[in-house]
Symmetry: C3
Subunit: 346 residues, 3 copies
């Protein structure tokens, strides 16, 4: 890792992000913060009028505002792209958990398990006999790398994560704390008296740069692989069932569930607690609103909402109409009465 | 802990709860049970007519009934508040998991990690180098207390719970088995080709007396803290995203999801699988029915239901109207026909 | 375990499943696969016309097709029941995680904890002082078997699973990775100022042959037991609250939530993210569609959908009508106009 510059004052940070300092540059900045706080040593950013106005009322160490901002009362940095400048500051303050290269004495590597000399195996971690941990990978305390699993270059398996069996991680992936990758898919068949287990003998394959959050489950395939394409970002408490295939560069928010064998296209955006039923094919570029559930295949890119999911504009119209449904019932009742009158029945 | 009295018979329990014994006081009571069981050594309580009638038909060791109950056929205890009396009995029978004070030989405390002499660190637990475990706190087997974490006085971190980084627990909190507090918030930005990770450098702050269930995730803030107010009770499999703030004394049932930066007021009551979208502000005293999803800020206390959430009375009317929707369609069709007839078109 | 035959070629597999070989029997088969792949050493099955047609276009090692199939262009096996034949092949290829009988040196058995001589306790597993692990049971790395827990004959507790306290597993059960069985039920009572915890002193009882997936939570009862009947199959990320009782042989998909004290009948089928509210009684043979939420007791077998759940046929009609709701609003508006005209008001 390159050595970081030592930044202490608002002046230092203005220069670090390439912005224009306005006001007292000697204020000490100790951490990033958000506009809502009164941290006199914190630095925040404000882009919209709403947040800029709120920032004016707070006692912040400094604020990054758009270059065209005028009449800002306290010390600040003007920048063409405040969000980007703030991102740079977040990177500056990030403090990754450090773990020494090599195998911790309390870790357990089964005979035949491979650990590259540049990898790091933390306290009480486990690597099974035919598993492989490649260059610069980091296996954190209590992580379990089971039989047939491969952890690619620079990938991180966080505390208590479990790679059950036959899980292949690409390079620079992260598996969050407590997540379980490669448990048996949920396959049973009723034999007339009980549920028979269908053996799940496939694996899970993650492309490069996939991030998995905490407490997420991705099941191994019945045969072949459950596949998570390159660059996918998956949040906490998500369920990806057996034989699912996710196209590259999707974003799956917390609580999402994808049922068995469904294939989702590239650049998917799934809102919280949304999901797809099993055996569907979903086009590239499909977004699901929070709570939406796709129950049939979708061939057209765009945003969808509701259960079952329909194009989002239709969904919004439906929701508006639903809210007025009790009124509609009254209007129909009134019409019925009027028609009766017109027919001379009342 | 104070020493417990030794209670053996229904007479002992009647005296313990300050109730009036009716019938055979020599029956041996070995455990609490529920009205539905036939446990001859179990004690249950029954408040409503329905449960009192059911209790009459069961072979229980004893039942606590309201003081005014008459004609109860078997041995029982009359009490002004049966539920409270039963609560006292539950406390009597509770048998907390015991763990010796001090550090278990198989635990791993990184150099510089602080553990108070009155705290207890269980088998194979982990305390990072700049973490602190305060007086009488209990860290159970496999629990991970990461860098920058603080476990307050008397707090309990249960088996396999993970405090990832910069997590501050107040006093007398409980973090349930397998829960993950302080994992990186889910922040990404599309750069035109891939999702860029936004570093999450804030922490999580829990007030005093917060209970977290099993397998719940609370993410660290982008900057500043994700804040869980004093006295909150959070169930299993709940998601609390980065920079969320929960006011004090709320109850969050299983499956709830709160999206990023939303501020929930005091005494919130969230039913199972309900939730809030991101960046909302919710007033004190707002309750969400099970499955409800609040998609806009709520400024008025009260109960809400549906997706998007609306006042519960409106929701109930809407649900009723929805159920009758196919009938409404038929009524509209009939009206159209009649109007055509009236217009002389048919 | 009986020794497996050594199968190498398509001919070997045809004979193994009792099917009729058609074409080149010398093709080497190395693993099962699915119809969508082009694995030249993989074997798949195809039952429906759709999949048979797709299989014709792929470079598979072999395909199992219905006995009556004609004109299949590449090597295949004809079989009266392709699915059953494939199931046999999946069993052949299954490679259960092996763990030596006995107690791993890094495991921790508290004094008084019982482990049968034929059981296997993996690396860094924990067995509490008054817990029991019976014949041929397998406790995998990091699994926690807490006080008062009993693991029945041949049951498997997978890595990082937690049996908190007073959890009784029948014979041949599986508890998946990271699942938490026996954590305190979510019981609180508002005392006017704060939420008081109601002690949960009951346990959890699992019948024989119950499978629990990954990251599923089953809470201990307030008193008595939370009961999971024989043969139930429960997926990942499921919540079963305190004092719930599940009848035998049910199937509960991922994301399901069953609230406190609800009794579900035999042979239940719950779709993904569905659930029941608390204190309900559900008949035998009730199925819930994905996302459905039963809010009242159900006495009639059959399938239900929606929130609140209604008979599935009614639900389908309601969904169809909802989709057309904006059109219905327009029809009512048109009617109102026509009626006004008829009344001579316009």
């Amino acid at each position: 890792m390159e050595s970081k510059p030592q930044l202490k004052t608002l002046r230092d940070f203005a220069s670090f992000v390439g912005g224009e300092l306005v006001g007292d540059g000697s204020i000490e900045i100790e951490r990033p913060t958000t506009v809502g706080s009164d941290d006199e040593h914190g630095i925040a950013f404000a882009e919209s009028t709403k947040y800029i106005e709120e920032a004016k009322t707070r006692c912040l160490g400094g604020v990054i505002v758009p270059a065209e901002t005028v009449d800002f009362p306290s010390a600040h940095i003007k920048h063409a792209n405040p969000r980007l400048a703030y991102l740079k500051i977040l990177h500056y303050f990030e403090r990754p958990i450090e773990q020494a290269v090599g195998v911790h004495p309390s870790a357990f590597i089964e005979e035949g398990g491979f650990v590259h000399a540049s990898a790091s195996i933390g306290a009480m971690a486990f690597v099974a006999s035919d598993a492989m941990v490649h260059d610069q990978a980091i296996i954190m305390p209590y992580a379990y790398v089971g039989p047939g699993c491969v952890v690619g270059v620079g990938s991180v398996v966080m505390p208590h994560a479990v790679l059950v069996q036959d899980v292949i991680l690409g390079s620079y992936c992260t598996v969050g704390p407590g997540s379980v990758i490669g448990h048996s898919g949920f396959g049973y068949a009723w034999d007339g008296q009980k549920q028979l287990r269908i053996p799940q003998v496939g694996g899970v394959h993650l492309g490069d740069s996939v991030d998995i959050g905490a407490l997420t489950a991705i099941d191994r395939a019945t045969a072949d692989y459950t596949r998570i394409g390159e660059g996918n970002k998956i949040d906490n408490l998500v369920q990806i069932a057996h034989n699912v295939e996710l196209g590259p560069h999707g974003v799956y928010a917390s609580g999402v569930g994808i049922a068995g064998s469904t294939k989702v296209g590239a650049r998917a955006m799934l809102g919280g607690q949304s999901g797809y039923a099993d055996h569907l094919v979903i086009a590239d570029g499909v977004a699901l609103a929070g709570r939406a559930a796709g129950l049939t295949s979708i061939s057209k890119p765009g945003a969808y909402g509701g259960t079952p999911a329909i194009p989002i504009a239709d969904y919004m119209r439906m929701v508006a109409a639903q809210k007025d449904l009790p009124k509609l019932v009254k209007r129909v009742r009134a019409l019925e009465k009027e028609v009766k009158t017109l027919k001379g029945e009342e």
